[in-house]
Amino acid sequence: MERTGELALFTVTFFRRFWRPPYEGRELVNQMDEVGTKSFVLTAVTGFAIGIVLSMQTRGTLVRFGAEAILPSALALSVVKEIGPVLTSLVLAGRLGAGMGAEIGSMRVTEQIDALEVAALKPYHYLVITRVLACMLMFPILTIWTDSLAMLGGYLESVLASGMDYRVFFNNAISALRFHDIIIDTMKTGIFGFIVAIVSCYLGYTVRGGTREVGQATMQAVVISSLLILLADVVLVRLSITFF
């Protein structure tokens, strides 16, 4: 309970400080590169593989009901509305949660955060706010990327399995989606990005002890971020169904 309260305070601190100077623009760009550019291959492979697998699995079921023609629509809906955003966020939680927890935790136990503090360099701004904003901005972009690769994977599987024409495939897929499906379900990953970054930064920032504790913080960052993503998804899906 105490840790939950501390996390809540850490989060409140973010909202109180993120709009105040100093604005660490260069570090924000560095973090966007770290979060985004360096995750492109990971999310591309994830998306491509899941697109192929989904297409193969769904085809078998649809063929039994003579409904193979709706495969592109089913694939688009499942990828864009749920699997793409959640899977991308979970994969990123693994990579970034561990990285942020370990990096900031190591900085804490080697007194680098204290060194920033006594040099009046505002470590919360420099380390936390930049990472949280970078994740909030890059998660949706990476989700669009993953969704696109998943659709490409699904299309290639369809070509190999049934020789489906690309115009038929993509026309069906796109016509199944409403604009706000794409926007709402992609943008919710900005919230997942916030969760991953704030939890991981908190666990790293408040670590006490040595390398063992840093290891524990790293592991907890991944586990707690992943669980919170799944819980937040339940809430956000319910809200989107209610309001949209």
């Binding site: 680098q112 060194a115 040099a119 009046a120 360099l121």
Partner: protein, 260 residues
């Protein structure tokens, strides 16, 4: 010399220390849960001197030092630095005060994702209006001073323990502070490096007039740098004076500490 354990009267407590006193602690208390680490510590340090706080592990030395830059806030008592109540400062006023204090961390605490040059430029770039050329000149001059200019492009992982301490010292003085705090400045170093770092601390006092506060249990370092020494035991000063005074003390803990 036991510390007074009762706080001073509020009116007297609010008065700033005399102008030649750059640091003053008054009846400082700090606890972590049930662990009462500082139990009414008071001290005064004059401008341009090196004060050394001696004591065994767990005596509260690091906790005391962290109060001087508000890395920790006291539960009770006053922290006066340069005539201001450090423990009451916040925001920009606190940052401004911190810029007049350098801190050499036990591990050096160099930012390991940056080169030596970037470690120093990071601080200069944010706190001065110097041009890149002027910043480079200041950094090279400071690295020359610790005789490690050649290490400017290296990362901290490529430095030895002694080099990290010296670079840490160079980074701590890059903004030309009035006060330098040394957290175990020579721990883990070989005797040659201990002398090297200790002599740099003496030169900072003599050439730049920087007031030093060091916590250490390294007697070789203390021998070289000390003007006034304090011995901390279980959160209280049990002796103070010159290092010789402490050596001559009849207190059994000090006799044990000095190996007699």
């Amino acid at each position: 010399m036991p510390e007074p354990s009762t706080p001073s009267a509020p009116a007297a407590a609010a008065a700033p220390p005399p102008p030649d006193t750059i640091i003053e602690l008054r009846d400082l208390h700090k606890s972590f849960g049930a662990n009462h680490v500082l139990k009414g510590v008071s001290l005064s340090i004059r401008k341009g001197t090196n004060a050394v706080i001696l004591g065994g592990s767990g005596s509260g030395k690091s906790v005391l030092l962290k109060h001087l830059v508000q890395l920790l806030r006291p539960d009770r008592g006053e922290v006066w630095v340069c005539g201001k109540r450090m423990d009451l400062l916040e925001g920009d006023a606190l940052d401004e005060m911190r810029l007049s204090i350098g801190y050499l961390f036990q591990s050096g605490a160099l930012f390991d994702s940056m080169t030596v040059f970037e470690n120093m430029d990071f601080i200069l770039g944010r706190h001065t209006n110097l041009t890149p050329g002027e910043r480079r000149a200041r950094i090279e001059e400071t690295l020359d001073w610790v005789d490690l200019r050649a290490k400017a492009p290296n990362y901290p992982a490529e430095l030895s323990g002694g080099q990290k301490k010296r670079i840490g010292l160079a980074r701590a003085i890059i903004l030309e502070p009035q006060i330098l705090l040394y957290d175990e400045p020579t721990t883990g170093l070989d005797p040659i490096s201990v002398r090297l770092v200790s002599e740099l601390i003496v030169r900072l006092r003599d050439e730049r007039g920087i007031t030093g506060v060091a916590i250490t249990h390294d007697l070789l370092c203390a021998d070289i740098i000390t003007d006034e020494a304090f011995f901390l035991y279980h959160g209280r000063f049990i002796e103070r004076g010159t290092l010789e005074d402490l050596r001559r003390s009849e207190h059994p803990l000090l006799r044990e500490f000095f190996g007699e």
